[in-house]
């Protein structure tokens, strides 16, 4: 009889039948060690089971009679025992197995999850596993993005170190960050969306460069980062990961799961980060790295329903206290004008849920809510802001022959309020008028399997923005597999974006520059197309190479761009009276040699420019600030024999970027040099051990940006600056270059070479 199927039925039936009859229980061992997954089979009763992780097995509901119990496992001699079962009399049988001589070659666990892969979808999705990010461990996913080709975490402020994620040269607001497919990160919270997600809770990160599926709306023209959290079947029972650096940074990640009476699986993750050791290596009397204390708690409930349908609820809570500023700043100086400091308290919570309706048709209701509160001072300028986003979406999955249809309707509500005039009534500045936007939408997507080799995905989305009216977003994606080793993808779509000035511009908040809106801004429209080609080579001896090339082109009309250059004290927002273009190509190579050596390389050429007529009517081509033309990343992993020792060498390289200087006399370079961050790490995981140790050196080249990056760091309140009638700084003897205090000139982190050490403890 078919034991596999008996096992399957036992799983299904156990619990539903009463054990009126007798049972046999026992433990299977080999030299006192419990043996898992040993096959236990009762010949004559057609009953079988397998031993669990403690070596235990149970065979129940056995009728009285005489049987033969057979215990077998590959690599061990099979044991057979005659057994007599009497009615209502349970038996305990412990069995010791002997190793057989013909034991196969001992297998060393190698690959299960690849560091980088690409999903089969027609939309080019790159999938990164936690293994990839462990090659250069970072306390937050924000920092981890430095390892991904074409993705650059950009710090926007030298003092408070908040930043955003640039994809293929496009600014942070063009990047959409999702958790489990939910758009809960935007505006105010970009940096917080990716910090404080416990690494232990991440199953994989999906990155789409360029416009994604119509499921995600119209905003993400630059790209999309979707953090997929673990599911009960992939999460370890317990996981701890602790790391410290020689700067005194301490990061602790804890994760675990438990099963609640078979009713629910509960995953819990905790992340704690503490950096409380002010360091000023560049001698500007300002903290080099912002001091941070962060705690975040994530919990996800997967509720088991009889119908097997989905019901999950997840919540995340984050609290962060960060400050940066003059070295002698203390909390008593918060908001004062004696000693300069930027201090931000953030409280944020999120709720994410998914519920499949109990209908035969596949309806999925998804919902999320988040509440973000920021209490901050930039010097003596207060900034208190609240942002709430509620989102709900109902999708309907229909599979019909070659067509896989997805229809859906979504509603997003965004509330934003702060203490600045941005949210004051236009008639009376004294009256607060929070910004509220309703964004209902519907979408339809059809993924057509034209043939075994060809997929065509067509999508159309319609949104109604309560402030801007109708938004149509069409998408088309095409995939052709010439064979398993050569795959072509073509994607095209449009994008639509409204700028959210006060949540996007850090320099506006710090008071370093004043925001000027030149005219009523029109929504920005963009058109994108990209082409991707994937080629895989499988060598005969187990060597593997995957090459992946992409070229893209995006055309913007009404592009909304901040102008830093016309007036050094202002950021002027204006619709571009011309057009904007971003184009480029990127090449990735993923090499895995038979010897276990892995090499992942990526390089991109990015061209971002705008074309606008100047006063005399001549078209001028202009390259925006902080866009790099060339960028590269690499990660090399070398296993050292079979001792469980591994060496990882990771790095990135960025070409020159134009930088925001304060006028012509600014002594700071108007272009950044080529710069590179390189790291080396050793990981030791003794075989069969639940413990893993790692240690390494970050920023091997000790690269740091110039020490004069903060202009007039000696006068953060501009006391010694003389201004003219238009608010422009004048050159004076103690300010010969006509500068003001400005912390927004930043292109690289201030942290030089440093060692780090940590361990991971993993109980499956």
């Amino acid at each position: 009889m078919r034991n596999l199927f008996i096992i399957l039925f036992l799983f299904v039936l156990s619990g539903s039948l009463n054990a009126q009859l007798s049972s046999i229980t026992g433990t299977i061992t080999h030299e006192k060690d419990a043996l898992e997954f040993v096959n236990v089979y009762l010949v004559g009763a057609d009953k079988g089971t397998i031993s669990d992780s403690d070596g235990h097995f149970t065979l129940s509901k056995i009728r009285p009679g005489e049987y033969k119990l057979r215990v077998s496992y590959i690599g061990f001699k099979t044991v057979e025992r005659e057994i007599k079962i009497e009615y209502g009399k349970d038996q305990v049988l412990n069995i010791e197995l002997e190793a057989s001589e013909i034991q196969g070659e001992e297998l060393v666990v190698t690959g299960t999850l690849k560091e980088i892969s690409r999903s089969k979808s027609a939309v080019p999705v790159e999938v990164f596993s936690p293994k990839f990010f462990q090659m250069n461990p970072t306390p937050s996913l924000y920092d981890a993005m430095q390892n991904v080709n074409g993705v650059r975490p950009q710090l926007n402020c030298n003092v408070c170190n908040t930043g955003d994620i640039h994809i293929n040269g496009l600014e942070g607001p063009y990047t959409m960050i999702l958790i489990d497919g939910m758009p809960i990160v935007s505006g105010l919270s970009t940096v917080y969306g990716l910090s404080g997600i416990p690494n232990s809770m991440v199953e994989r990160i999906e990155i789409i460069k360029g416009p994604a599926s119509s499921l995600y709306g119209s905003e993400a023209v630059g790209g999309l980062i979707n953090v997929i959290t673990k599911k009960p079947s992939t999460a370890p029972t317990f996981l701890a990961d602790a790391m410290t650096s020689f700067w005194g940074e301490l990061n602790l990640d804890l994760g675990g799961k438990f099963n609640l009476n078979n009713k629910a699986d509960v995953l819990t993750g905790v992340n704690i980060f503490n950096y409380s050791n002010p360091i000023d290596n560049n001698g500007d009397n300002f903290t080099d790295v912002t001091l941070q204390k962060r705690a975040s708690l994530f919990q996800k409930w997967s509720i088991n329903r009889k119908s097997n349908k989905l019901f999950t609820l997840a919540t995340r809570f984050l609290y962060e206290d960060r400050w940066g500023g003059e070295m002698d700043w203390t909390r008593d100086n918060r908001g004062g004008s004696e000693i300069y400091g930027e201090s931000i308290y953030t409280t944020r919570w999120e709720l994410i849920g998914n519920y499949q309706l109990p209908t035969t048709e596949k309806f999925l209701l998804s919902f999320s809510y988040n509440d973000h509160h920021q209490d901050s001072y930039y010097g003596d300028i207060p900034y208190f802001a609240d942002q709430r986003i509620a989102f709900s979406q109902l999708t309907w999955d229909i599979e019909k022959g070659k067509h896989s249809l997805l229809a859906g309707t979504a509603l997003r509500y965004t509330y934003y309020d702060d203490n600045t005039p941005a949210t004051a009534s236009s008639e009376n500045i004294e009256i607060n008028n929070p910004d509220e936007i309703w964004l209902p939408g519907i979408f339809l997507q059809n993924d057509i399997s034209v043939s075994e080799e060809t997929n065509l995905l067509l999508g159309l989305r319609y949104d109604y923005n309560s402030a801007h009216g109708n938004i149509w977003t069409p998408r088309v994606a095409y995939k052709h597999s010439f064979n398993q080793k050569n795959i072509l993808r073509l994607n095209a779509g449009t994008g639509f974006r409204v700028v959210n000035l006060f949540t996007e511009e850090h320099a506006a908040l710090t008071g370093a520059r004043e925001v000027i809106i030149a005219e009523e801004l029109k929504p920005e429209q963009s058109y994108n197309a990209n082409i991707n080609y994937e080629h895989k080579i499988y060598g005969s001896s187990g060597n593997y190479v995957r090459l992946d090339a992409t070229a893209w082109y995006t055309y913007f009309t009404n592009q909304i761009l901040p102008d830093y250059e016309s007036n050094s004290n202002e950021i002027i927002y204006d619709n571009l009276d011309g057009f904007g273009v971003t184009q480029g190509f990127t090449l990735n190579a993923d090499i895995e040699l038979n010897s276990g050596i892995k090499i992942m390389l990526g390089g991109s050429f990015i061209d971002v420019h705008t074309v606008e007529k100047d006063e005399s009517g001549i078209s001028q081509r202009n390259r925006p600030l902080l866009t790099e033309r060339w960028t590269g990343t690499w990660a090399v992993s070398l296993p050292v024999s079979r001792s469980g020792l591994k060496v990882d060498y990771t790095g990135n390289l960025y070409g020159p970027m134009k930088l925001p200087v304060l006028g012509e006399n600014d002594p700071r370079a108007s272009e950044s040099p080529w710069w590179s961050l390189q790291n080396i790490q050793m990981t030791w995981n003794p075989q069969n051990s639940e413990l893993e140790f790692y240690a390494g050196v970050k920023n091997l080249l000790n690269f740091t940006p110039p020490s004069n990056s903060i202009s007039r760091s000696n006068d953060p309140f501009d006391r010694g600056v003389v201004f003219d009638g238009d608010g422009n700084a004048l050159a004076t003897p103690n300010n010969p270059n006509a500068l003001t205090f400005d912390p927004s000139y930043v292109y690289a982190p201030n942290q030089g070479i440093r060692g780090f050490i940590g361990f991971r403890y993993n109980i499956r």
């Binding site: 070659e105 089969k120 349908k309 499956r764």
Partner: protein
């Protein structure tokens, strides 16, 4: 020797789990748990499972079953139906894969499950196996 193999040069024959259930000829079976995004599964399919010797052994002596742990289709064995269990937006696992493939509480891909001709699970391994390792494994049954 090589030339005689060449004559039989053939493609790997696939059997489904349902077919396994109804086969009358007794043979051991190899169940290969995969996922769409699983690079190592693809690597095995393009290397080990293309190797002539392995294909020949599998076709002649085994039933070979490939099972996508995220497949949406229901599997009916006898009167019991096994379904896809969504665990989130566009993500989930098939309960059949979870039942037979979970090792140490974790379901990995690739996972190799060996059944003897009595359909008893005799071996499971979660991870990539190269051609040589797979050969050793197939010889041991």
């Amino acid at each position: 020797m090589v030339s005689s193999v060449g004559v039989y040069s053939q493609e790997l024959e696939y059997t489904t789990i349902e077919e396994l259930y109804t086969k009358t000829e007794k043979r051991p079976a190899l169940i290969f748990l995969t996922a769409e995004w699983c690079t190592y599964c693809e690597k095995m399919k393009n290397t080990s499972f293309e190797e002539k010797q392995i294909v020949q052994v599998l076709n002649e002596r085994f039933y070979f079953v490939e099972f996508d742990i995220e497949q949406k289709e229901e599997i009916k064995l006898g009167d019991t139906v096994f379904r896809y269990k969504p665990t989130g937006l566009k993500t989930g696992t098939h309960e059949l894969a979870e039942i037979i493939g979970t090792i140490d509480g974790v379901l990995n891909t690739p996972t190799i499950i060996l059944l003897n001709s009595d359909m008893e699970i005799v071996y499971r391994y979660g991870g990539y196996l190269d051609t040589k390792q797979l050969e050793v494994l197939l010889e041991s049954i």
